[in-house]
């Protein structure tokens, strides 16, 4: 009786939760992401024993330590957005470009991340001087308006982790945890203006940047049951304490872009398994994301990731409702270079068609 009552109370509260209906924008490249994690759409939180394990899930840090200095960079290098951006910025605008922008490519985006890190067995210090995002959403040819979202983020982080239970032996039960403490400078602009405003106002007055400084933390957990039947589990709490929240007015707007699962507090959980074969190791993972840490699961953003490696050659693939990604990378002693091909809809159902884009990434080990 009490349990039934309790369940009814919980159910009644969940009915009060807001549904997502804003133009939510996500990106393959998230803060702290390198090439590998962005190609896998962060569906790699159970991938143990890779060079990017701690990048995916800081709880894997004590289980996959690495020593040295690393420099990484990943960027969107090709696609309709890049072509349109180049045409918009460097050439006079033509009628064909406008028609294409409204009908086929009403959303255009660019993203870039760079990172320098020093890592040893105990901790990792990383500095990301530039994490850049640019989103442009064009609508209504009768009276054209532009919804613009720009971000330039700088982050300094300290990460560490420890094994809570078990040991770091293969096929043994283990529970580990990790945390990252970050200081960030978050410069952003989210503007909505009409095309005709450009003729009456200085463009610098239309795009107003706001800078926020703060400290945030990521806390993660990983469970490996140590047998071949039970999958590995992970739970991550991201951007805890971040001052960058989802803007409520933007979140209910039919025209404003609202970044999601990038800067605001959220959580994600993963379930995965590594399969060793004579032809190499396959790692599989299913990741889901929870809005506002503990509100509702955004099933549309759930992603399935697969990673196959054979010595120096690796293949990545990830699949979700709005992203289909395939990538390859080659690793040498110093360099790890990769390229991925994405078919993506950063704004989900509000984007008329998938954008085919290419991303490149470089990791340098010093």
């Amino acid at each position: 009786m009490i349990l039934k009552t309790f369940k009814r109370i919980i159910a009644s509260f969940t009915l009060l939760l807001p549904s997502a209906y804003a133009i939510n924008v996500t990106h393959s490249i998230k803060p702290r992401n390198g090439f590998h994690t962005s190609t896998l759409q962060n569906s790699c939180s159970t991938f143990l024993g890779t060079s990017f394990s701690s990048e995916c899930n800081i709880a894997l840090f004590p289980l996959t330590p690495k020593n040295g200095v690393f420099i990484s960079g990943v960027a969107k290098s090709d696609g309709d957005s890049i072509d349109n951006g180049r045409d918009l910025i460097f050439d006079p605008i033509t009628l064909d470009l406008l028609r294409n922008l409204f009908q086929n490519s009403n959303y255009n985006s660019f993203s870039f991340n760079s990172r320098v890190s020093f890592s040893n067995e105990l901790f990792e210090i990383s500095y990301s001087p530039y994490y850049l995002l640019a989103d442009l959403y064009l609508f209504n040819p009768a009276f054209p308006e532009i919804s613009l979202n720009l971000v330039n983020r700088e982050t300094l982080s300290l990460s560490s982790g420890l094994i809570l239970l078990g040991s770091n032996k293969p096929n043994s039960f283990k529970v580990s945890t990790g945390a990252t403490l970050s200081y960030y400078s978050h410069e952003s602009a989210n503007s909505l203006f009409s095309l005709f405003d450009l003729s009456n106002q200085n463009p610098e007055s239309l795009i107003l940047f706001d800078t926020q400084y703060g400290v945030q933390a990521d806390v993660s957990f990983f469970v490996d049951f140590g047998n071949s039947y039970l999958p590995d589990l992970s739970m991550q709490f991201k951007n805890m304490g971040s001052k960058v929240k989802v803007n409520k007015s933007q979140a209910i707007s039919a025209t404003r872009l609202s970044p999601r699962f990038l800067f605001e507090p959220y959580s994600q959980f993963g379930i995965g398994k590594k399969v060793n074969t004579p032809f190499g190791a396959f790692s599989l993972n299913l990741e889901s994301f929870i809005i506002d840490v503990n509100q509702e699961i955004d099933w549309d953003r759930s992603a399935f990731g697969v990673y196959y490696t054979l010595n120096l050659f690796s293949i990545y693939g990830s699949l979700s409702k709005f992203y289909k990604v395939v990538g390859i990378s080659f690793k040498s002693e110093l360099f790890d270079v990769g390229v991925s091909y994405n078919s993506e809809k950063d704004i989900g159902d509000f984007q008329q068609s998938y954008e085919n884009a290419a991303y490149i990434g470089v990791d340098i080990s010093i």
């Binding site: 109370i9 009915l15 918009l88 910025i89 009628l95 209504n140 040819p141 009276f143 463009p203």
Partner: protein, 407 residues
């Protein structure tokens, strides 16, 4: 007791959650509908956009957003969108690439400085005080002064003496003109009163001192006293300036139209039915503009779009009433005008002016050209919605007579 409390709590939560769920669902439905409208607009599907907007108006009568989107759909249906207006927009916005925005700002600055070359334009903000206003102010000031104050006005005198010629060729030194120039602080700049008096002196004119000459001038009482003469001069100057301003206005209008000939040629033409869609769109936008509690974005967009459509209606009416291919010089605008077509387009020109003027108030452009704006607004109040047959005939006769005399 606890059980009762729990039951009340549970039912209360469920009821609240149902109400909350309904409210959230309503907002979600409204936003989803707006997304659908925007998607339809982007695809240039004006019929779908219009039907969705009308559905939104019926389902959510308190949300004026759907009136705004209805206006967008109607504007698209009338083919007045970024594609058809692209040649006009391009000339303003996209002459250069965006990476040369510094040059765009210079272009915009030049355009602003050339406001006085527009049809309505008169001058820059610094010249807000018209020369006519200054002159009128001086006249009013002088008229308001008492005789004593006027007489006490400090005058400057400059005297010359000329000999007059007698019946023969020899000058008579006892008969001369005293030629003088007089002005005071109210004398228009660069202007003075010149006159002369004839005297017959017992002594030779040259023996007179300046003071004696001045006394003779004052005694002789010139046709105008300085104050009356000053007011007279000022009034004459005022008339000259007004006439010049009036001529300048027509010349400016002619040149502005001539300068805008490429724009006039590129104005998209639309059918009568499409014009009625535009009229309908305007009334929706007016409704949005005047709504209370609406987001500033929609009010601002509505205001701008009303101005855009109004300007389009005016230029379209002009362009379709003149044989633009025959225009070779500014005067041709008057000579090649088709009076019948002007009359046909009169209702749309009237709506265009009313719309443009309604959103022009409180803008910087209005402040710079207030007199013209106010004059046209007054004329618009008198302008009938439809011209009578007599008015049409009179207008046609005026145009034809002008063309006969001047073309």
């Amino acid at each position: 007791m606890l059980k009762r409390f729990l039951i009340i709590f549970i039912w209360g939560s469920l009821l609240l959650s149902c109400g909350g769920k309904e409210g959230q669902k309503s907002i979600e439905d409204s936003e989803n509908l707006k997304h659908g409208i925007i998607a339809a607009l982007n695809q240039e599907n004006s019929d779908l956009a219009l039907s969705l907007a009308i559905s939104g108006q019926e389902r959510f009568p308190n949300e004026k957003d759907f009136s705004y989107y209805r206006a967008q759909a109607l504007s698209l249906k009338a083919n007045i969108d970024i594609y058809s207006l692209f040649p006009l927009v391009k000339m303003q916005l996209f002459d250069i690439a965006i990476n040369e925005w510094e040059k765009a700002n210079e272009f915009e600055e030049r355009r602003r400085q050339n406001t006085n070359l527009s049809i309505l334009g008169e001058g820059s903000l610094d010249e807000r005080y018209e020369e006519t206003d200054i002159i009128q102010a001086k006249i009013d000031l002088l008229k308001s002064l008492s005789k004593e104050d006027l007489d006490s006005l400090e005058n400057e005198w400059h005297l010359e003496t000329f000999y007059t010629y007698g019946e023969g060729t020899e000058p008579d030194p006892k008969h001369c003109y005293i030629y003088y120039e007089a002005k005071n602080k109210h004398t228009p700049k660069g202007k003075s009163f010149y006159s002369s008096i004839w005297i017959s002196n017992d002594n030779e004119c040259d023996s007179l001192t300046d003071e004696e000459k001045l006394e003779l001038v004052k005694k002789d009482s010139p046709p105008f006293k300085i104050n009356d003469w000053t007011i007279y001069q000022l009034n004459e100057r005022l008339d000259r300036v007004k006439n010049r301003k009036s001529s300048e206005r027509y010349i400016k209008a002619g040149f502005a139209l001539f300068d805008g000939l490429p724009i006039l040629r590129s104005i998209p033409t639309i059918t009568r039915e499409e014009l009625t869609f535009l009229k309908d769109a305007l009334s929706s936008l007016e409704e949005v503009k005047d709504s209370r509690g609406l987001s500033p974005r929609l009010k601002d967009n509505s205001t701008k779009q009303i101005g855009l459509i109004g300007a389009y209606l005016i230029t379209f009416s002009l362009a379709s009433s003149i044989d633009l291919d025959q225009v070779r010089q500014p005067l041709d605008f008057a000579c090649k005008i088709n009076a019948g077509k002007i009359i046909d387009n009169y209702p749309f020109m009237r709506i265009g002016f009313k719309s443009l003027l309604s959103v022009g108030i409180e803008t910087e452009f209005y402040l710079k050209n207030k007199k013209n704006f106010d004059y046209i607004q007054e004329q618009m109040k008198l302008a009938p919605e439809n011209l009578t047959d007599e008015q049409k005939k009179a207008f046609i006769n005026d145009i034809e007579n002008f063309q006969e005399d001047n073309c």
